[in-house]
């Protein structure tokens, strides 16, 4: 694994969660994290100068909060299961779209597939392409987001 990829993925994840769903990132010294295991996942594939996939997992409690926040609803649990699944997929789509120019060059063209929600019966491995290039956990005030990036060939982090 490549720590530059980890850093790029962590930065894009933190920025995306903050600007779309208004969740506060936690520092190393912060406590108070919801430690529920991330059991809700979505995956997205991409192809271009290099191909691969990105998987995002959060707890079911966190996905409900993310959807409520994106929709601007103060009342907890108001987002439907469909909205919650879509929120996770769209966050992943935005992370992936913003990550690729950082690990490629801005002139590289990628095709990004539609994100897929992985139901509990789905084996995450079946949506994975390539070898693990980055795996991170980002802590927020409402829970933890786990991300895994798989690439089908080596790539380098651009200066951006």
């Amino acid at each position: 694994m490549n720590s530059e990829f980890d850093n790029a993925l962590a930065k894009v994840t933190e920025d995306t969660f903050a600007s779309m769903a208004f969740v506060l990132p936690l520092g190393e010294q912060d406590g108070g994290e919801d430690d529920a295991p991330p059991q809700t996942s979505a995956s997205i594939r991409f192809s271009g100068p290099f191909g691969g996939s990105l998987t995002l997992s959060v707890s079911s409690r966190m996905v409900a909060i993310l959807a409520d926040n994106i929709l601007g609803r103060a009342e907890r649990g108001s987002a439907s299961p469909e909205e919650q699944q879509d929120a996770l997929k769209e966050i992943l789509n935005v992370i992936c779209g913003n990550l690729l120019p950082r690990i490629a060059t801005p002139s590289d063209m990628f095709h990004v597939s539609q994100p897929r929600f992985l139901s509990s019966g789905d084996a995450a491995e079946s949506f994975v392409d390539g070898t693990l290039a980055a795996a991170i956990a980002v802590r927020f005030d409402c829970g933890r987001a786990n991300l895994s990036l798989y690439l089908d060939r080596p790539a380098t982090v651009s200066a951006a």
């Binding site: 903050a18 208004f22 506060l24 990132p25 520092g27 010294q29 912060d30 601007g72 103060a74």
Partner: protein
């Protein structure tokens, strides 16, 4: 009205040009969950209790929601704060965006982030908002 020395703190100016009602908030921390007892005494210390308190007060005093002009400044990572891991300025701003979105309000201008402290002015007679940072005035 003036609020001084906004470092990581957030200054929020709200103004209704028709009624001439205005308010200025200086919020220090993102969420009252950090210190609920303090939030009861002074809700304006926290973004998630201070912004609703200011908006509710403005509306109760006769301001109209769709006329409100909202401007924000601050949220800096000042020299001393850069060495801590709490990123208070950033968190204040994220919480502010959340509350605005829940209220269905958009921001008319902002000057957020960076490393320098700011002083924020709201002229009630005109609704004009400006900042002063390191001796320099600039309109917001």
């Amino acid at each position: 009205m003036v609020t001084h020395a906004l470092g990581s703190c957030l200054g929020i100016a709200v103004y209704d040009p028709v009624t001439g009602l205005g308010g200025l908030l200086h919020a220090m921390l993102p969420t009252a969950a950090i210190n609920p007892s303090q939030a009861k005494i002074n809700p304006c210390m926290f973004v998630d209790t201070g912004v609703p308190a200011l908006l509710h007060k403005m509306l109760a005093a006769g301001a109209t929601r769709n006329r409100l002009s909202i401007r924000a400044a601050g949220g800096a990572a000042t020299q001393t704060e850069r060495i801590d891991h709490f990123a208070i300025g950033k968190r204040n701003y994220i919480m502010f965006r959340k509350i605005l979105w829940q209220f269905g309000l958009l921001l008319d201008a902002e000057d957020i982030g960076g490393e320098l402290p700011r002083t924020m002015y709201l002229e009630i007679g005109t609704g004009k908002v400006w900042l002063n940072s390191m001796g320099l005035d600039k309109p917001l």
